[in-house]
């Protein structure tokens, strides 16, 4: 029997996205989170006494040029060397070969695939012989399929294909080294250890097994829940048994909390706390960074109309003292897309200015030229020299989804225009 761990997308020392101000303790812990998850991974390799570890790219963020990320990565590999565990690494779009520090020496147990496809056969480790075939990105921009460089299998050993690539439609990820499940299958390997997609997914569970383990540490509000690696056991007849083991140090969570039917801020607090308790319970002994998304329509919308109020809520949650011990619980922010219970249809019928305003908004909502009409308004900010390098992406996103922006604007204006309390008995 032969056992290995399949990991990918370590992104060592890359910062958390979508975080706002944290306190010192939480900030430090978050910064160390990718390292801590990596340490857990190394511990897991030693604990499970695996024969090798395969890493399918994106060990660190090349754009950040984090030297510490690289050095600590090597430190972990040295520990594996001491435990006679082999390591096979291919590099992906975030850590292409040219982003690695020259002079960084890897220990002898490590095999780094270079820009030419290579198959390494291991026969004298006291386990059934096996082969690992892989290739690394020489530079970041590898938009063509790399599969053609892999040899079709004509050897008997259990074979692992190691590749950083977009297989099928890679949702939310830029397409790199694209290929398909069918193509991968056609090569006749036993296990395709893929990297690039951050959410773990098994594309095919046998002949061959094809899948992404996801990143071992979520780094943005979108990368919620458990994050980890596959512990793979290969039987004597090459049958594969995979076991997903979470190694994340900090867990991201996001919860929608509806304000429907709530009358008071206290009730909202209660509902938020219930969600937080649920998050805390699910996370078990791991720390959590979470975001609350307030949705729905209700009376408390008026209490949330300003951005400060949501920040205040988040601050209160973090002031409750669940941030200064391990595991900690940190609210990274409260997003509000709530609305009051105003009956817009009824208001829209009015012959007054409010009715006119609402009718006009509806007209714009139907107007396909809305982004073009809004662009000059937004350009005051987004075309400003200081903002351009940082907000370009946002501008695109806002204009792409101009309807949402318009709806938000409507709610904002209406909150001020209709001050009366139009709530009906519910």
């Amino acid at each position: 029997m032969f056992r290995f761990i399949h990991a990918a997308d370590l992104h060592l020392d890359s910062p958390f996205k979508g975080l706002k101000e944290t306190n010192q303790t939480v900030g430090d812990r978050l910064r160390r989170a990718t390292f801590n998850a990596y340490t857990t991974l190394i511990d897991l390799c030693i604990e499970k006494e695996v024969d090798c570890l395969v890493v399918a790219g994106d060990v660190f963020d090349g754009a950040d040029k984090s030297l510490e990320g690289q050095l600590r990565f090597v430190d972990g590999l040295k520990r594996l060397e001491q435990n006679n565990i082999r390591v096979f690494i291919c590099h992906g779009n975030h850590d292409p070969l040219d982003s690695w520090r020259a002079g960084l020496s890897f220990p002898d147990n490590v095999h780094r695939f270079m820009s030419d496809t290579e198959c390494v056969k291991i026969a004298d480790d006291g386990v059934p012989p096996y082969a690992v075939c892989g290739i690394s990105y020489p530079t970041q921009e590898v938009k063509r399929s790399l599969l053609g460089t892999f040899p079709k299998r004509d050897w008997p050993e259990f074979t692992i294909g190691l590749l950083h690539a977009s297989v099928g439609a890679a949702d939310g990820h830029q397409s790199y080294a694209p290929c398909s499940v069918k193509e991968l299958t056609s090569l006749g390997y036993d296990y395709w250890a893929l990297g690039h997609v951050h959410t773990g997914v098994i594309l095919q569970d046998s002949d061959p097994w094809i899948g992404y383990p996801g990143n071992p540490q979520g780094r943005s509000p979108r990368e919620t829940g458990e994050r980890g690696v596959y512990v793979v056991e290969v039987g004597d007849n090459k049958q594969i048994k995979t076991d997903f083991v979470p190694v994340h140090a900090v867990r991201w969570e996001q919860r929608d909390v509806s304000i429907d039917g709530l009358e008071t801020v206290e009730q909202l607090d209660e509902r938020i706390h219930a969600s937080v308790d649920e998050i805390s319970e699910e996370a078990g002994d791991r720390s959590v960074v979470y975001r609350i998304h307030l949705v729905g329509r209700g009376r408390v919308h008026h209490n949330l109309a300003t951005p400060d109020s949501a920040q205040e809520l988040a601050r209160r949650l973090n002031d409750e003292g669940r941030d200064d011990h391990e595991p900690f619980l940190w609210c990274a922010g409260i997003k509000t897309t709530t609305a009051s219970e105003i009956n817009l249809d009824q208001l829209r019928k009015g012959n007054d200015a409010v009715g006119d305003f609402l009718k006009l908004k509806e007209e714009f909502a139907q107007d396909t030229t809305l982004p073009e009409q809004l662009e000059p308004e937004l350009s005051k900010l987004f075309k400003a020299r200081i903002a351009k390098p940082h907000l370009q992406e946002l501008e695109g996103a806002l204009l792409n989804d101009a309807q949402t922006l318009l709806k938000k604007a409507e709610i904002t204006a209406l909150d001020l225009l209709v001050e009366e309390d139009p709530d009906l008995a519910s």
Binding site: R31, S66, G103, L374, L381, L391, T412, A413, L416, E420
Partner: protein
């Protein structure tokens, strides 16, 4: 539409209330808290639904009733609808009826009635409340802006339209402005982002030298490694030289010490610590010798004392006896004192005995007295004698008394017989009996005869006389009858009842009376049978009288017959009594004789008994003169005498005892003294003096013997110690001898000399050992003494110092090189560490993400605000283009009407001006602040009315509600407004809420068709 009636089931303070609002203008007048706002809320609630229970517009039914109500509303075509709403979810269910039938599309109907206008139009456009018609007439810029705003709001129908735009702009500018925006929040975030990028780039540039630095570090490390090896080598050599130099003086000392040692070193056979041991032995021997001498002196002294004799020593052997005598001293003294007292007592008793004997009489001796039996048994015998004598005497007396009684009876009986004998007539007893019987017969016949005579006439009367009832019955009957009559006459039922009771009583009386009458009748019939034929009866009676020889019945009185009969009867009794008396007398005489015989016999018995008594006395040794009754007194005297004799005897015995005791004591003392040759003065009567004398001697003997015993003990101890100490002395002497022998010394002096020499040599050897040890230690115990001696043997003074100086110089040079290398490597490592750690870069990257997030959020917020503002502007423009003309047109018409044609037009704001202006009849254009207060008010109302018309002018005409709108106005302004509303009321229903009577009156004056609803507090 026109609200014609309000029916409130339960809402706020109202319960089951109906209010008519048929007139075009209705004024609700009542003090504060009377419920005007409640009415307004009620109308709004019925039309648009119940608010949430947490809302400020929630009016729970405080006075009871169901939380519901209905409005009767007429639409513009005059059709009536009943719009009813009850509390419930989603604003509460709505029921709309038309002509009594519930409509299926109630909600649509209500919306139609409300001109399709939402609640905010109802509240903002159709309602005028307290905040309106403000003071406008101020000149400053703010006030002018306010005026503009107010007029604008009046015209646009959204009071806050402009404020909202301002607010949005302010919030947006807080976040970001292109001009002078460095303090703006977003700007700050973006600036920080730029700064972070720059910092990160710098760090990145630094870390590019990582490989080069690593190489340099490696070079330095190698150099350091080599120099460290060289240094170690030199240091090793230097350390050796240093050791030579340092240990050279020690080596010299060793050599010197070795030279002082004798050629032949004495062995270990010499005793250890010789001087100390010698001195110690000498001291011990001296001490022991002193002790032996001291013991000899003590023994000599003590021996004299131990052998000294003790006077009267034997007396000590009789200490017990002596103690007994001493203890008996007190008792002896008491006996001496008691002796005299006892003698006096004896004398007294002698006298008492003599006196007792004298009282008993002559010839009585003590012995006789003692022998006499006066025991209780004897006295019981005497008592028996006494009883016997008493019984005999009593019997005699009884017999004598019986005789006397018999004498008296005889005398009395004799008298009676004599008297009876005198009374008796001379006839026989039979004759008397016959005569008595005849007299009795005569009496019976007489009675029968008399009765027959009496019954004759009575029988005839009995049929003629009717027995009359008793009088009370008759009276009772009459009174009762009268009462009954009165009762009937006067109709008195109680009297009737009483009279009936009366009748009952009379009835009972009559029954009793009849019963007695019947009894009497039966008696009479019997008597009549018995007493028939009186003549026959007389004959019978006469015959008897004849036999008695007493004449005929008429001459003989019945009482005489009776007297004769009694007299004869007495005669018979007397004769019987006499016979009895004679018999008794004879009996009595016989008894007397018998009695006298008995007395004589008894006297003889007494005499015999007395003789026997005297015989008993003689036998009992009692005096014969004694009678049984005085024997007790004699016995008492005897007992007294006997007691006195006994007392005397006892006293004498005691006296004898005491005397004996004294004598015995003296003899004991005397004997003891004799045994020990102690001379006693016989002239001394008191033996206690002797005893004390012996006691003193005994004490002296004891003391002396004690002293001698102590001396003997001491002597014994001293002898023992003397022996022990002598032995110890010998042992020590032996030790000294051994010590001297061990040192092969003839005497102590020689020993001492030899010992000093030995000690000196030993000290040198030790010093030498110490120095050799020191030297070995200096060479880290790596060499033996011989090796070290060889090492030093070939060295000369001064040679070492030179070599060491050279070596130090080389080493110092090497160290400097090493230090430089090390420092350089440290710097390089620190530099690499800075690149390695990348801690700061990591922090910057984390912060960059945070700032990016914050900037994105702010930018998004800014975008929302700017779009909201843009949207409002678009709406505003659209309003100005599409709706404003109609409002202005309508408002101008109202303004002209209100100002009686003084003003003819209102000009809307243009792109250049942002305020309304008006044109007067002379076609002059004026800004609002150029108008008088009243005209400003009219302009304001005209714009509002224009808005109302433009909004609701095409559909249903909606009611306008004026809720204390005029309260801020002076009377003149209020009048203008009231007139305007009265004018409006011609088209739209106007509902006025006020708590001011003057406001109410204004409206009453202003409109001909006004209805006032007074609301109670």
């Amino acid at each position: 539409m026109h609200i014609k009636e309000l029916h409130i089931d339960g809402f706020g303070v109202y319960h089951d209330r109906e209010i008519q609002t048929g007139a075009p203008l209705t004024v609700f007048y009542g003090p504060n808290e009377a419920g005007k706002s409640t009415l307004l809320a009620f109308i709004r609630t019925v039309l648009y639904g119940f608010p949430s229970s947490t809302s400020s517009k929630w009016y729970p039914p405080l006075s009871g009733g169901q939380h519901s109500g209905r409005l009767i509303i007429a639409d513009d075509s005059g059709t009536n609808f009943t719009v009813e709403r009850q509390i419930g979810p989603k604003g509460g269910p709505l029921i709309v009826r038309s002509s009594g039938n519930e409509m299926s599309n109630g909600q649509n109907t209500v919306e139609r009635l409300c001109g399709q206008q939402p609640r905010n139009v109802f509240e903002n456009v159709l309602s005028f409340n307290l905040s309106e018609l403000p003071k406008l007439g101020s000149e400053n810029e703010n006030a002018k802006n306010n005026i503009t705003r107010e007029f604008y709001s009046a015209a646009i129908g959204a009071r806050k339209f402009q404020e909202v735009k301002d607010d949005l702009q302010k919030r947006q500018r807080d976040i970001f402005t292109t001009n002078s925006g460095k303090q703006k929040r977003l700007w700050k975030k973006l600036a920080r982002l730029e700064e972070l990028e720059k910092l990160l780039r710098e760090i990145e540039g630094q870390s590019a030298n990582y490989a080069d630095t690593t190489r340099q570090i490696d070079e330095r490390t190698t150099a350091l490694h080599l120099s460290e090896k060289q240094e170690k080598k030199l240091q090793s050599r230097r350390d050796e030289l240093k050791r030579y130099v340092e240990s050279w003086p020690v080596w010299c000392q060793i050599r010197k010490l070795e030279s002082t040692l004798p050629a032949v070193i004495p062995g270990d056979e010499f005793p250890d610590n010789p001087i100390e041991r010698l001195e110690e032995l000498e001291n011990t021997i001296g001490e022991h010798q002193d002790a032996v001498e001291a013991f000899n002196a003590t023994i000599a002294d003590t021996r004299v004392q131990a052998e000294r004799p003790v006077i009267h020593e034997k007396l000590i052997g009789e200490s017990a006896q002596c103690d007994g005598l001493v203890n008996g001293v007190e008792k002896h003294q008491d006996a001496c004192v008691d002796l005299n007292k006892r003698q006096v007592e004896v004398d007294k008793n002698e006298e008492a005995v003599a006196k007792e004997l004298l009282e008993l009489g002559n010839d009585w001796t003590k012995e006789q007295i003692s022998a006499l039996d006066v025991s209780i048994t004897k006295m019981d015998q005497v008592d028996a004698w006494q009883t016997k004598f008493d019984e005999l005497q009593n019997r005699l007396q009884t017999l004598q008394l019986a005789l006397n009684t018999l004498d008296e009876s005889c005398r009395q009986q004799t008298v009676d017989v004599t008297r009876l004998e005198n009374d008796i007539a001379p006839s026989t007893d039979d004759e008397l009996d016959t005569n008595i019987k005849l007299v009795q017969t005569a009496l019976d016949r007489h009675t029968t005869y008399i009765r027959a005579l009496e019954n004759q006439p009575m029988r005839g009367r009995s049929s003629a006389q009717f027995p009359i009832p008793p009088r009370w019955i008759v009276w009772g009957f009459l009174i009762t009858l009268l009462t009954f009559g009165l009762a009937i006459f006067f109709e008195l039922p109680w009297l009737g009842a009483a009279s009936l009771l009366g009748f009952a009583g009379v009835g009972v009386g009559l029954v009793d009376w009849f019963d007695s009458m019947r009894h009497k009748y039966h008696q009479t019939v019997h008597d009549t049978t018995e007493t028939a034929k009186p003549e026959d009866r007389r004959q019978e009676y006469a015959e008897v009288l004849k036999q008695l020889k007493l004449g005929n019945p008429e001459s003989v009185d019945v009482s005489d017959l009776t007297k004769i009969k009694d007299r004869w009867s007495d005669e018979i009794r007397n004769r019987q009594a006499l016979t009895s008396a004679r018999k008794i007398l004879i009996t009595l005489e016989d008894q007397k004789v018998t009695q006298r015989e008995m007395i004589e016999a008894h006297n003889k018995q007494i005499e015999e008994t007395t003789v026997k008594w005297r015989e008993w006395l003689r036998l009992s040794d009692f005096p014969e003169t004694l009678q049984p009754n005085n024997v007790e007194g004699f016995a008492h005297q005897v007992k007294e005498a006997r007691h006195a004799i006994n007392s005397l005897k006892k006293e004498k015995n005691r006296l004898y005892g005491i005397t004996q005791n004294i004598k015995e004591y003296r003899e004991q003392v005397k004997k003891l003294a004799d045994r020990h040759d102690i001379p006693l003065d016989d002239s001394i009567a008191d033996a206690t003096i002797w005893t004390n004398q012996i006691k003193t001697l005994l004490q002296q003997a004891n003391n002396k013997q004690g002293t001698r015993e102590n001396a003997r003990n001491k002597l014994r101890d001293s002898n023992a110690q003397h022996k022990t100490t002598s032995a110890a002395l010998n042992r020590e002497m032996k030790k000294l001898e051994n010590l001297l022998n061990a040192a092969q010394a003839k005497d102590v002096e020689e020993f001492r000399r030899k010992a000093k020499e030995w000690l000196r040599t030993q000290a040198t050897i030790r010093q030498l050992e110490s120095k050799r040890g020191e030297l070995r230690a200096m060479w880290v115990n790596n060499y033996t003494d011989e090796e070290l001696a060889n090492k030093f043997q070939n060295r000369a003074d001064g040679e070492l110092e030179d070599e060491l100086a050279q070596l130090n110089e080389s080493l110092s040079k090497l160290k400097n090189e090493h230090k430089t290398n090390n420092r350089e490597r440290g710097q390089l490592e620190a530099e690499r560490k800075r690149m390695d750690g990348d801690e700061q870069a990591s922090k910057y990257r984390a912060e960059r993400e945070i700032r990016r997030t914050e900037a994105n959020e702010l930018a998004e917020e800014w975008s929302t605000l700017i779009v909201a503002q843009w949207l409002l502007n678009q709406a505003h423009r659209k309003y100005e283009k599409e709706r404003q003309p109609a409002v202005i047109q309508s408002a101008s018409k109202w303004f002209k009407q209100m100002t009686n044609g003084n003003y003819i037009n209102i000009v809307p704001p243009t792109d250049r001006t942002s305020e309304f202006s008006v044109v007067n009849k002379r076609e002059r254009t004026l800004a609002p602040n150029q108008l008088s207060q009243g005209t400003q008010d009219q302009l304001y109302l005209a714009l509002r009315f224009g808005l109302i018309e433009s909004i609701v002018g095409h559909g249903e005409r909606l009611p306008v509600i004026v809720d204390e709108a005029l309260v801020n106005c002076d009377p003149a302004r209020a009048k203008v407004a009231a007139s305007a509303f009265a004018e409006l009321a011609q088209k739209n229903q106007v509902l006025v809420m006020t708590c001011h009577s003057w406001v109410r009156d204004l409206f009453v004056e202003a409109s001909q068709n006004v209805q006032v609803v007074e609301l109670a507090p």
